[in-house]
């Protein structure tokens, strides 16, 4: 039986390691790369390598950065007394888009999940505790995801930070703003009802 030439087969194999990519998509991607100009392919390959070798973790907030400390931790306009704890580097970008938060971050790189073999020692919790102990911090905002693992992580951290007697807060959940009530799912709506406030 005819198989793909070795280089194609190897490329397919590697594409299949990416999330959400099956054998068919992988083959399509591999053949697409084959059609690309050599310069483009080289730039693509370099971008992938730079992603791995050109990045490091910020010594302060553990976010990924080209130079440690990262741009946010170096920024003198930032309020250094507030730390927002998030699970992933992508969450920092999401928070930054609000342009409303001017404190610092702490990136955990995951959440506690025994099912995936992730315990507290596997994410940057120790670094957070040290950081809070060594700096003048007023408030820690726990902005982990509102699912079981995110809640467990927030709870775990809040217990560790209790002794420091600082303000500990958890982000609220509620309705998406600007949308119509009728389009909200029942659970979100019911949760928003629970968290209603007096006018």
């Amino acid at each position: 039986m005819y198989g793909y030439p070795e280089p194609v087969a190897r490329a397919i194999e590697h594409f299949m390691k990416l999330p959400g990519v099956g054998p068919k998509t992988a083959a399509r991607l591999a053949f697409h790369v084959l059609e690309m100009s050599e310069a483009d392919v080289k730039a693509f390959a370099k971008a992938l390598i730079d992603l791995k070798t050109g990045l490091t973790e910020c010594a302060v907030c553990c976010n990924i950065t080209e130079a440690s400390p990262c741009a946010i931790c170096r920024d003198p306009r930032r309020d250094r007394r507030i730390i927002c704890v998030v699970q992933e580097p992508r969450d920092v970008i999401a928070m930054e888009r609000t342009r409303e938060y001017h404190g610092l971050y702490h990136v955990l790189h995951g959440a506690i999940s025994p099912m995936e073999g992730v315990g507290p020692q596997d994410i940057r919790i120790r670094e957070l505790v040290t950081r809070v102990g060594e700096n003048e911090i007023d408030e820690v905002i726990l902005a982990t995801n509102p699912n079981v693992e995110g809640e467990a992580t927030a709870m775990y951290i809040s217990r560790l930070l209790k002794p420091f007697q600082i303000k500990l807060t958890r982000i609220a959940h509620g309705l998406p703003v600007g949308g119509d009530l009728e389009y909200a799912d029942e659970v979100t709506l019911a949760k928003a009802l629970e968290g209603r406030r007096a006018l």
């Binding site: 506690i112 025994p114 099912m115 073999g117 079981v148 467990a152 217990r159 029942e186």
Partner: protein, 371 residues
């Protein structure tokens, strides 16, 4: 609500068949394997979007055909409905009063049916898992937040159990406590909603049982929680405290066995006849009557929630009931709801009922007979 007309095209063993139903009792009579249940299945499919026994639409399409079509006409208090569902290789297409409906979730629920099938006997005879599934499905339909708490509970439980299995080495690094807290919170909401539901179900089911059995025995049910100290009438916070204490109390044991020994995932519904637990002392007919009562209670729930009765589909339930129970069931129910019954033989029922429509089902052909 009444189903007026049902048409089947290349559905299961039907090439083309139609049923004009009466608003009262309708009986489909025929040998086994002729297509009686298939006709009920078609109505269920239109009502809830799912079959009770087929997992793939392919199984619902007639042998060597590409697509099947079901048409159902009903009159409801919100107006007449003409619902069509097409099953084909590209998926489903649904139409309501001639307009295509994009999503199945918007299509289902326009007519309401309650189906009692022989498998429902498992509610009485089966393991606690069957009764928990009954609770979860019934509550899940009525209370979206129940499903929310249940799924988070199950997730937290899975995490806790995995932790128990793998991390027995560092028993108190605080991880267990964070999952315990969520298990207690969501578990308490699950239990609280189940207790509230069962309090209503109990009243309905006991009355239905008594009607079918002519008051010969008293049927009762109660919730048995694996969590010590959980009682009806407790607040969510009180239940949460009880679950939390149970988790702490069982911790050593849970660590040893690598699983969580108490919580709503281990709870059950206890069924009683005249104060005695059912599986120790109940006849086949009594057990069937209990299963029927639990299922038929749904009719009263729906009436309360929606302001009208659903259509009752009884699949082959008469055979194991004595004449009295058959009569009480059919006469009692048909007074308030439209009923469609399948049976292999009419027996005495034919004489007891003075007004019903009879259909003979034979090899995928439905013919109305005069009675």
């Amino acid at each position: 609500m009444d189903i007026r007309r049902v048409e089947l095209h290349d559905f299961r063993n039907y090439a083309a068949a139609a049923l004009e139903l009466s608003p009262g009792v309708n009986v489909l009579v025929g040998e086994n394997g002729q297509g009686k249940t298939n006709a009920l299945e078609a109505m269920l499919l239109i009502a809830v979007g799912k079959s009770h026994r087929a997992h793939r639409d392919r199984d619902l399409i007639r042998w060597e055909k590409d697509r099947a079509r079901i048409l159902l006409e009903a009159s409801t208090r919100y107006g007449d409905r003409r619902l069509t569902l097409e099953l084909g290789p590209e998926g489903r297409r649904a139409f309501a009063n001639g307009v295509q409906v994009g999503r199945m979730t918007e299509f289902v629920g326009q007519v309401q049916v309650v189906l009692f099938a022989p498998e429902d006997l498992d509610l009485v005879k089966g393991s606690p898992r069957v009764r928990r599934r009954f609770l979860d499905t019934e509550l899940g339909q009525m209370e979206p937040l129940y499903l929310h708490h249940l799924s988070l509970y199950n997730r937290a439980l899975l995490q806790r159990n995995r932790w128990l299995k793998s991390s027995g080495l560092s028993p108190d690094d605080g991880v267990l406590a964070t999952f315990d807290e969520q298990i207690a919170f969501h578990g308490a909401h699950v239990i609280h909603r189940r207790l509230r539901f069962l309090a209503r179900l109990r009243a309905y089911a006991a009355r239905i049982y008594s009607d079918i059995a002519s008051g010969r025995e008293q049927f009762a049910l109660s919730y048995r929680s694996s969590v010590l100290g959980v009682e009806e009438g407790m607040t969510v916070e009180q239940i949460e405290g009880a679950v939390q204490r149970a988790l702490e109390r069982n911790r050593a044991q849970d660590l040893r066995f690598g699983t969580t020994s108490a919580g709503p995932h281990r709870d059950d519904i206890l069924l009683f006849l005249d104060g005695r637990e059912v599986h120790t002392a109940a006849s086949q007919g009594q057990q069937r009557t209990i299963a029927l009562s639990l299922r038929l209670a749904e009719i009263d729930f729906m009436h309360e929630e929606l302001g009208e009765y659903p259509v009752l589909l009884l699949d082959d339930v008469l055979s194991e009931l004595d004449d009295l129970r058959q009569r009480n069931l059919v006469l009692g129910m048909s007074r308030k709801v439209q009923t469609v019954i399948t049976t292999t033989s009419l027996n005495r029922l034919g004489q007891e009922l003075d007004d019903f429509r009879l259909f003979r089902v034979c090899s995928g052909i439905i013919a109305e007979e005069r009675v």
